[in-house]
């Protein structure tokens, strides 16, 4: 094998040299009911050492996108097209052997529920050390020392005895810390955190997010943070991508997207979130309707059945034509409303509600 475990720099032919570049990614599952278009023509970039928040409802394709990056979909019923380049190396269509070398080493994942995501049959130390052994060829005792080091780093008390505990002997917050230790044991360049705080209570959530941030600063890791919690994004990410029905509907910096959102769906998400500084007597307004079926998407803009601003678009384009994400760079949305209209609606109708 000549594949380098950690290719230096990006020498992709396309000229774009970002750390992680996803181009026209589509993920389709064949099921008994038909083909599920879980991710449809998704493109985004991630710079080294930064955090990208991916936000959206359940079933919007957040997790599917990230499992595709790690190549964890079952190839039997999944069709993945497009391109995912990590440090210039193409991951779509890479062999299992190539992916095995990258997983846990160059890219790793923190899962949502650490109780089910950690093996109940192996000690915490074994599970952390095993990754280190596999990728560095370290001995058992070196791996154990490394596991203790990592547990210390993520703030587990008495790591020397805790290393021999099983996951069920840890509390929820400690399990998630152990999970983070496991994903960072080889200093990966990319960490994907799939709703890392959803299963935890609020005080522990904040600790875990701070921990991730500190470790990012220390190690220079790039993070993709999947969440449905905009508060979590505001706290940790630099850039945000809002996903709806397998597509990106809005993208920009955290400031842009959270302070001046431009897409009706993002407005909906923000309006449905309580704010401490907002007016107390204004009721929260959820996004009406339910997410569309990914087997049978509405024609045109997939958000049109739930959108309150359709009549302002001339020519009924919302039900006939799918809006592209534009402009190419910077703060972009996929919506037929003109930027002037979006500006006006946001200032007149949305902002007062958010407070």
């Amino acid at each position: 094998m000549t594949t380098q475990a950690k290719p230096e720099g990006a020498t992709a032919s396309g000229g774009s040299s970002s750390f992680l570049s996803v181009r026209d990614l589509s993920v389709r599952f064949s099921t008994e009911d038909g083909v599920v278009r879980a991710v449809d023509n998704l493109s985004f970039e991630l710079e080294a050492g930064t955090t990208l928040g991916i936000v959206g409802e359940s079933g919007s394709g957040k997790s599917v996108t990230n499992l595709a990056i790690l190549g964890l979909h079952n190839p039997v019923n999944t069709e993945i097209t497009g391109s995912i380049k990590l440090q210039g190396q193409e991951l779509v269509g890479a062999t299992n052997r190539e992916l095995e070398k990258l997983r846990g080493h160059t890219m790793s994942m923190i899962f949502q529920d650490p109780l089910t995501a950690l093996s109940p049959f192996h000690t915490i130390g074994k599970q952390i050390g095993e990754t280190f052994q596999k990728h560095t060829g370290a001995s058992k005792s070196e791996a154990r020392d490394r596991a203790i080091e990592m547990l210390t780093k993520v703030g587990i008390p008495q790591p020397k005895t805790r290393v021999d505990n099983y996951p069920h002997q840890f509390s929820g917050g400690m399990r998630q810390r152990a999970m983070i230790a496991m994903s960072l044991v080889c200093n990966p360049a990319l960490v994907i955190a799939d709703e890392p705080t959803t299963a935890l209570d609020v005080t522990v959530q904040a600790q875990i997010l701070d921990l991730l941030k500190d470790l990012q600063q220390e190690m220079g890791t790039a993070i993709i943070l999947i969440t449905h919690d905009l508060g979590v994004v505001a706290r940790t990410a630099q850039n945000v991508m809002v996903m709806y029905a397998g597509r990106a509907v809005e993208r920009g910096t955290v400031r842009e997207v959270l302070k001046k959102p431009q897409h009706p769906y993002t407005w909906g998400l923000l309006s449905s979130m309580p704010s401490l500084s907002g007016p107390v007597d204004v009721p929260l307004t959820p996004v009406r309707g339910t997410p569309p079926s990914l087997i049978n998407l509405p024609t045109g803009c997939p958000f049109n059945p739930r959108c309150d601003h359709m009549e302002q678009v001339v020519g009924g384009k919302c039900t006939s034509e799918r809006p592209p994400l534009s402009p190419q760079g910077g703060h972009a949305t996929a919506c037929h409303l003109s930027s002037g209209q979006k500006q006006d609606i946001f200032i007149d109708q949305i902002q007062p509600r958010l407070g």
Binding site: E100, G104, S119
Partner: protein, 325 residues
């Protein structure tokens, strides 16, 4: 662990006592009168009373039970001779001490069970794992259909077919007989080969299906996905993670099956004309030899209870979440 074993053993004794009482009471509820049966066609009332007395049937039931229970530990004297502990009574039908008959029959059942268990565990678990590994592929489909076919086969169908194929029409294998292992190990294996094949064919199918389904279930667990996400090879994920999870189910079922099989494989023994505990139970039932029936039941119950304790102990070793106390 020691505390667990002591506690479970005490519990087992209580369970066995309850089973013995139920079994004992049951056989007084059966309409057959053992004294009348052994009295013969021309039976005078005096004769019947005499037999009843010698069989201890003239005492109240609780006292009979107490005599039976104590004789297990201290032995007992019958008109036919002394029955040393552990004494399960005397069979008036077989004119033999029950313990003696049980000891005579048990090696056949034990040999039948051990031989087929080795075959069906190796082949069943192996095929099941292969099917899980090649999920949805040809190997899986063949293994799944074949095991469905085999597990819906009955011993009294597969048995005669195997006898015809291996013994009557071809002479490849010898007819089923039981030869003592210590006397002639080769003859022992040869004599039991056909029953082993037939018994393990059906059980292999069950273990294939069970192994496959629990492996498939484990492979879709989150922690298996985590193992893949951290770069473990397919082999390590399969053996170190998924198999570890599936093992618990398989060991549990195997332990209980073993207990049941050791209590006597009735149909197999009858089909192959082997004289093990299963055949003994059927004979005793037919002859209304109720004291023998109690003896067989107690041995079978003891084995099942014993293997349950073993299963729990092994399970705790496999799954650290189970705490023995």
């Amino acid at each position: 662990m020691l505390r667990f074993l002591v506690r479970r053993s005490l519990g087992a004794i209580v369970i066995l006592l309850i089973i013995s009482m139920v079994t004992f009471a049951l056989f007084f509820a059966i309409p057959a009168d053992p004294a009348r049966l052994s009295c013969g066609k021309v039976c005078t009332p005096e004769n019947l009373a005499l037999i009843r007395h010698s069989m201890n049937l003239d005492k109240p039931v609780p006292e009979q039970y107490w005599d039976w229970l104590t004789s297990i530990f201290v032995g007992r004297d019958y008109s036919a001779g002394h029955c040393s502990a552990p004494c399960f009574g005397y069979s008036f039908d077989k004119k033999e001490m029950i313990t003696h008959t049980l000891l005579d029959r048990f090696p056949t059942t034990l040999s039948l069970t051990i031989g087929s268990a080795i075959i069906f565990v190796i082949f069943g678990v192996g095929t099941g794992m292969l099917a899980a590994l090649k999920q949805g592929k040809a190997v899986d489909k063949i293994a799944s259909s074949a095991s469905l076919l085999a597990s819906s086969m009955q011993i009294y169908v597969a048995g005669p077919l195997a006898l015809w194929a291996f013994c009557y029409s071809t002479d490849w294998l010898s007819l089923p007989t039981y030869v003592n292992f210590t006397e002639d190990p080769l003859g022992w294996a040869g004599g039991l080969l056909v029953p082993w094949i037939v018994l393990s064919l059906i059980w292999t199918a069950n273990y294939t299906r069970m192994t496959r389904s629990s492996m498939v279930e484990q492979l879709s667990e989150d922690y298996v996905r985590t193992a893949r996400a951290k770069g473990m090879s397919g082999r390590a994920v399969f053996l170190r993670y998924a198999w570890r999870g599936a093992m618990g189910t398989i060991v549990t079922v195997f332990g209980i099956d073993l207990g049941v099989l050791l209590g006597g494989a009735v149909i197999t023994e009858t089909t192959f004309n082997l004289h093990g505990l299963g055949g003994l139970a059927i004979d005793s039932y037919k002859q209304s030899d109720l004291s023998m029936l109690v003896g067989v039941t107690m041995v079978a119950s003891f084995l099942i209870v014993l293997f349950n304790i073993i299963v729990d102990a092994v399970y705790a070793m496999i799954d650290p979440r189970i705490r023995l106390a």
